[in-house]
Amino acid sequence: MHDRLSFYYYRDSLLHRLNPLTKIALVFGLILVSFVSPYYWTSHLLVLVVIIPLIFVGRIGREYLNAALRIILPATAFLFVMQALFQPLEGEELFRLWFLHPTLESTLFAFRNAARVFAIASSFTIFLLTTHPRELMTDLTRRGMPPQIAYVIISTLQILPQMQAKAQTILAAQHSRGMDTQSTFLKRVGSLVPLVGPLVFGSLVEVEERAIAIEARGFTSSHVKTSLYDIPDTALDRALRWIFMGLAILSMALRIWLS
């Protein structure tokens, strides 16, 4: 569990070496451009010319494909079908089946929305696959984020899998002594309390001890702390951030100018 926090996979690639802030700028730039751009095909184009090359640059093809097939594609496919069928847009009817009558307009609208969500979800996934949470937190703390927030995020990433394992143990234990977690609705509601109770109280009891422990290590001290990890921030990073910002501003200007 120790080195498998979040989606991150270590590879030796340009994308992995980039500063975390540069990758955040890339994600935000992508979101902004795909939302404000006045052209219909922007999101589709972004997937082709940004997302797919990034996967090859980051050498995370297999991991990305895994995430895409498991999470992104089912969600976007559902989005596309539902919106094509139910968006109330008047226009040329494609076909009529019982009460379903998707129009050309609603299908086009759904196609653009699905492509946009696909592009944004992919950029999130690529960001998580190529950025170690520790690197992200160290870099953001160095740039002025309160170190307490870094503590919250990093320790949650450790506590959550532990508690999930504990929850599975409790679930299995209660199963073995015959608790009913499958049948009627009321029985399943009733089994919530014996499952949740031990877990929640057990974890809350640790809070007090941990507070004393980290207080003893100077948690609330306002002195600047030195970091073990040095996160490089090269000239390339700075140049890329300016380019992403420029592209976002350009697409906003285009939107205002063309409307």
């Binding site: 989005l79 539902m82 109330p88 949650t156 399943r188 974890s203 941990r210």
Partner: protein
């Protein structure tokens, strides 16, 4: 186009009010007082509670999310801003571990759930069972309002969650998209958020006074005149009535 620009005006007003509140809380040092070491240590545990209870509820196949119990707990014990931070970071971290697309777009919703739950607790609405039901309802209303623009503008109205079928149905009956999404949220959220608030209250009841006294807003959860079983049953009765009412409304909509 006119509707959109009007909505943007509302959006800017809401953001301005929020920023003013934030600055006010920061300048008067009300905010800093709430963020003690115990608060900072409670937040990760609360986020883990959010995630794990969400997981158990999924395993039991219950028709609710219950993924903000920890957020409401922090909001009640440590104040609105700690609650808001817990909500936002909760969605961020759980998205990081499982599926960013399902969690990251809803970060503002979780933020406001924590904020409103904390404000309710400050106003004394976290001291007996029926008041907790009111808190849950107010939180649900907030969640419905905040998630509507995200669903409409980010996902185009129909999201990838199961309640989209209700939205789709309402769209078929000829409602506009904002109305359909808001009605769906308003039908789904109260049951979820009232049970969330009641479970958080039940957890607080189970903790010792000595333990609770360590948190900066312990006085918010001091129960009035004993939280008796009768009160609990009355509160559950009210919730059941609310659920029946919701079912009735849904059947009226689907029937008509």
């Amino acid at each position: 186009m006119e509707v959109i620009s009007q909505n943007i005006v509302y959006f800017i007003i809401a953001i301005a009010i929020l920023v003013l509140l934030l600055v006010w809380a920061y300048v008067t040092r009300r905010m800093q007082k709430d963020f003690t070491t115990v608060t900072w240590v409670l937040i990760p545990v609360a986020i883990a509670i959010n995630g794990v209870i969400g997981y158990i509820v999924g395993q039991l196949k219950l028709p609710v999310f219950l993924d903000s119990i920890g957020t409401v707990l922090v909001a009640a014990l440590c104040g609105p801003w700690a609650g808001a931070l817990t909500g936002a970071l909760s969605n961020f971290v759980i998205g990081m571990l499982t599926n960013p697309t399902d969690w990251w777009p809803w970060i503002p919703v979780a933020f406001f759930i924590g904020l409103v739950a904390g404000l309710c607790a400050n106003a004394g609405l976290f001291k007996s069972w029926w008041k907790v039901v009111v808190t849950g309802f107010l939180v649900a209303l907030t969640a419905a309002i905040v998630s509507t623009p995200i669903a409409v503008y980010f996902f185009g109205g129909i999201t990838s969650s199961g309640s989209s079928f209700i939205t789709a149905y309402l769209l078929q009956t000829g409602r506009d998209i904002v109305g359909a999404v808001f009605s769906t949220n308003f039908l789904v959220e109260p049951i979820d958020k009232i049970s969330t608030a009641m479970l958080a209250f039940a957890i607080v009841q189970g903790l010792s006074k000595r333990f609770l006294a360590r948190f900066p807003r312990a006085e918010n959860v001091q129960t009035e005149g004993g939280a008796s079983r009768t009160q609990l049953f009355i509160a559950i009765g009210v919730v059941v009535l609310l659920i029946l009412l919701a079912v009735f409304v849904v059947s009226r909509i689907t029937g008509g």
